[in-house]
């Protein structure tokens, strides 16, 4: 029954994910990077897309994720990207639901927090290598819950190879290490003799395994540096606003978790859910992470989901339900049915083209015949790399790894029309700007006689030096 429940929620999430068009601003430079690596047969570790940092060495820590994205795109175009997204989102929902079903077999009680988590996870359904992290965090969480609650330490052998893969797919593998660390600390604290040594060894092996990537142990340092940055210039890395949609859902889940803890206390938690020392470790670590960096809020919801599903009925005095075991044939048939349903949705509803409403797609023709260095909007850099490779960009979504601080500071100085903006334009030999019309620089340059080569009212304008 547990697998059927998980497959049901996975199919719901996958169908929803398959129906959304590709539109993430970072997708395009990830695709271009992956394509470059496929074409050249080696890692891309020098900038080849911008004119401000040409030749500079850098690593995004997600080369394999980029290669997978580009490979899928080459094989199946945008439909392939949609299907890859659906598979990874579905996998995430599957493991969240299965982890939840380990402590709450009743699908009714499990449904609300699972659906809430799927809803919050929509904020990171963008087509980037982070989708792999979206799937892998719940997978590792589910595995660790099985180890802890069902005392199955043999499952831990899966972790090292998983972390080798994860360390090359996406830089946020450190979140997985945090998960393993919390479980290992709990096992040591409660002196769980059968699990203590295996979990500590699994943690050590996972740390070593995650270093088996082109950046080596520096990938871990990069993850720590990322966690300590202010997030001042990239919204998704800034603190969470609990008055937004995902923020309200997360806040509600956190408040309910606190309410459950205050009402039940450790002994009732031990009786109804198990591992009373584990849950505060998970909730505290991931809630604070989610509040500090909003793109990580999904993972806070992931770890709270089983606790809420089991805790709410306990607070309301409902009796726990025993798990139901179904014949394997029924399970397989049900899963096949769900998979068929998702495939049908993908075939019928998955968009065959990306949603480019947020990008200056209509400017490309004019841009193709224009000459000179281009100052582009930050969010459009990736799209221009992909769609207009003849014009190297000023800046793009590789922000922290490549453009901070020098180029980003110059970008801010110019587009916000600060006193040295003329110097920035001269320093970089800017002859073209492709910006939003409400940028102070756009207004000033128009007043100074720069020609509009193309524009769409309220969206974008392409200006050329007179």
């Amino acid at each position: 029954m547990r697998t059927i429940t998980a497959a049901f929620f996975a199919s719901l999430a996958a169908a929803a994910a398959a129906s959304a068009p590709a539109s993430d601003p970072d997708l395009f430079w990830h695709l271009a990077s992956g394509a470059w690596m496929l074409d050249h047969g080696r890692l891309l570790d020098q900038d080849v897309f911008s004119f401000t940092r040409t030749g500079a060495t850098y690593q995004t820590g997600q080369w394999l994720g980029e290669v997978v994205l580009a490979f899928v795109y080459r094989q199946a175009s945008w439909l392939g990207v949609d299907v890859l997204r659906a598979v990874l989102v579905g996998a995430a929902a599957f493991f969240v639901a299965r982890a939840t079903a380990r402590v709450q077999p009743h699908i009714g009680w499990a449904a609300v927090p699972i659906l809430a988590t799927i809803l919050v996870s929509r904020t990171i359904w963008g087509d980037r290598p982070q989708l792999f992290t979206l799937a892998l965090v719940p997978a590792v969480f589910d595995l660790l819950l099985a180890v802890r609650l069902e005392r199955r330490p043999r499952l831990l052998w899966i972790l090292p190879p998983l972390f080798v893969l994860w360390g090359n797919l996406h830089g946020a593998f450190a979140i997985g290490l945090v998960l393993v660390t919390v479980f290992a600390i709990e096992a040591v604290l409660v002196r769980e003799s059968a699990l203590r040594r295996p979990l500590v060894l699994a943690l050590a092996a996972s740390v070593v395994a995650s270093a088996l990537n082109p950046a080596g142990v520096r990938a871990l340092a990069a993850a720590s540096a990322y966690a300590s940055t202010s997030g001042a210039y990239i919204v998704e890395e800034g603190p969470l606003d609990v008055l937004t949609g995902p923020g309200v859902v997360f806040a509600a889940m956190l408040l309910v978790a606190l309410g459950i803890a205050l009402t039940l206390g450790r002994e009732a938690i031990a009786r109804r859910i198990g591992a009373p020392v584990l849950w505060p470790g998970l909730v505290i670590a991931f809630a604070l992470l989610g509040l500090a960096i909003q793109r990580q809020v999904t993972f806070a919801c992931v770890v709270m989901t089983p606790f809420l599903a089991a805790g709410i009925p306990a607070v309301l005095g409902r009796r726990p339900l025993a798990p139901v075991a179904l014949p394997r044939a029924i399970v397989v048939a049900a899963c096949a049915l769900f998979a068929l349903a998702v495939a049908t949705v993908a075939a019928v509803a998955a968009p065959r083209a990306p949603d480019l409403a947020a990008y200056p797609a209509d400017a490309l023709d004019a841009l193709a015949t224009a000459h000179g260095n281009l100052l582009n909007e930050y969010d459009w850099g990736g799209y221009l790399i992909f769609a207009s490779p003849s014009h190297p960009v000023f800046i793009d979504g590789r922000g922290a790894t490549l453009f901070v601080p020098g180029v980003l500071d110059d970008f801010e100085e110019a587009v916000r029309l600060r006193p040295a903006y003329h110097d920035v334009l001269a320093k970089h030999g800017i002859a073209l700007v492709l910006l939003r019309p409400d940028r102070p620089l756009t207004v000033a340059l128009r007043e100074d006689g720069w020609r509009a080569l193309a524009e769409r009212s309220g969206r974008w304008v392409l200006l050329a030096r007179p």
């Binding site: 604290l189 409660v190 300590s228 940055t229 202010s230 997030g231 800034g238 603190p239 969470l240 606003d241 609990v242 008055l243 806040a251 956190l254 408040l255 978790a257 606190l258 309410g259 803890a261 205050l262 009402t263 039940l264 206390g265 450790r266 002994e267 009732a268 938690i269 009373p276 020392v277 849950w279 505060p280 909730v283 505290i284 809630a287 604070l288 509040l291 500090a292 916000r416 029309l417 600060r418 006193p419 903006y421 019309p437 409400d438 102070p440 756009t442 207004v443 000033a444 128009r446 007043e447």
Partner: protein, 465 residues
Amino acid sequence: MRPSLVVPLAAGAVFGALATIQAVSDTDLWWHLATGQQTLAHGLARTDAFAWTIAGRPVLLDQWLGDVLIALAYAAGSWHGVIALRALAVALLVTLVVGAALAERPGRPLVALLAALPAIMLSRSAYGDRPQLEGYVLFAALIWLLRAGQKGSLPALVATAPLLALWSNLHGSSALGLGLILVVLAERALRDGAFRRTAAVLAVVALLATLLTPAGFGSWASSGGHFLAPPRYIEEEGVPNLRSVPGLIFALVLALVLGTAFLGRGARRAEAALLLPVVFVSLTAARHMPFFAIAAAPYLAAEGPAALAWLARLAGISARVPDASPARSSWQVDVAAAALAALVLSVAAAAAPGDPDESFYPRGALAALPRGPGLLNAYDWGGWLIWNAPDTPVFIDGRLFPFVPDGLADYRSIVGLHSDWRAVLDRRGVRALLLRPTDAAAVRARETGWTVVASGPDFVLLARP
């Protein structure tokens, strides 16, 4: 037996005295002071007299008493008086927070101090000279009363009504107090059927208490606006940033409360009624973070040691929960401690900086400011100009809400150099700009022939050609 007040009063005196080190500089103080003086001189003004963009329009009256208090303090002792008021408010706040924590674990002042320390540190950001500080004081008092009420004290619950009436005239944060009272009453009514009628009466009284202001229902609207739709473009109304120092302290309190709740004994629905609404409000904006630390202090003092001891024993460390037996208290000793605390505060206020710190403001531009309407000033300088240049009405200032939406939108169009900035300049009749040299409008105005009338490292006054 009630706990001794010596430690709370001593802590209050120490932190109150420390609060006097900082010179007067709050960007909003000036318009509060001007408003308070206006009220003392001419009675309550219901329309604006400071900004030329909203001249004659209605203004908010939700903190008129706070403004008057500041003006009275200034009248009594100039800037020393303002600092003395700040010291007194901080001392009261600390005394109440430590006192509420000590009430949960009498005889263990160290535990109470440790539990209260995050609240004291977090509220440090609110030590500006505004009615907001008095709002925190009354919130701390409310927490003490509500906890007593949850334990069965009817007088404590009754006392929340006059407190709420006072708060509603001092500062708009009283909406949080009203909400909390209603939640606490509802929780107690749910578990105690005999209390339901009393709870209903107290709830109605609380609602009516918040209306005993010149603002009437308007006091609800302004508070609701702040709590549910904070203006994010104002720094203190921004999202709590856990990667800042105050954010880290807030994160610590949240972690301690979560840890204590998970490892505690449970059956704490009353605590949930108090803490859950406050934690949500605190998550909404940086300036609200201290509320949660204040509300959490008594809970951490009551339950924290037991949870910590259980965890320590689990880890094989011998740990004993400090007992909660009350220490001997005496009114005479408490009164003597209060007198000593007052003396310490008086001396500290007298030794405080006698002049405001105006390094943030464009003092060098004052002599060159045009008289009458037509100046567009930087938002943060509006209050200071109201106080220092009464002949030059401002475009905008820290009162914010009277300027929403038109005035603020026009201000942002001009300063942010939106495509219609010239049209807005014409429509509004702006003839001078007082901005930072790095503001886009200042850069562009200079380039397009506006005359620099005065300038300094951090300001530029430009006149339209």
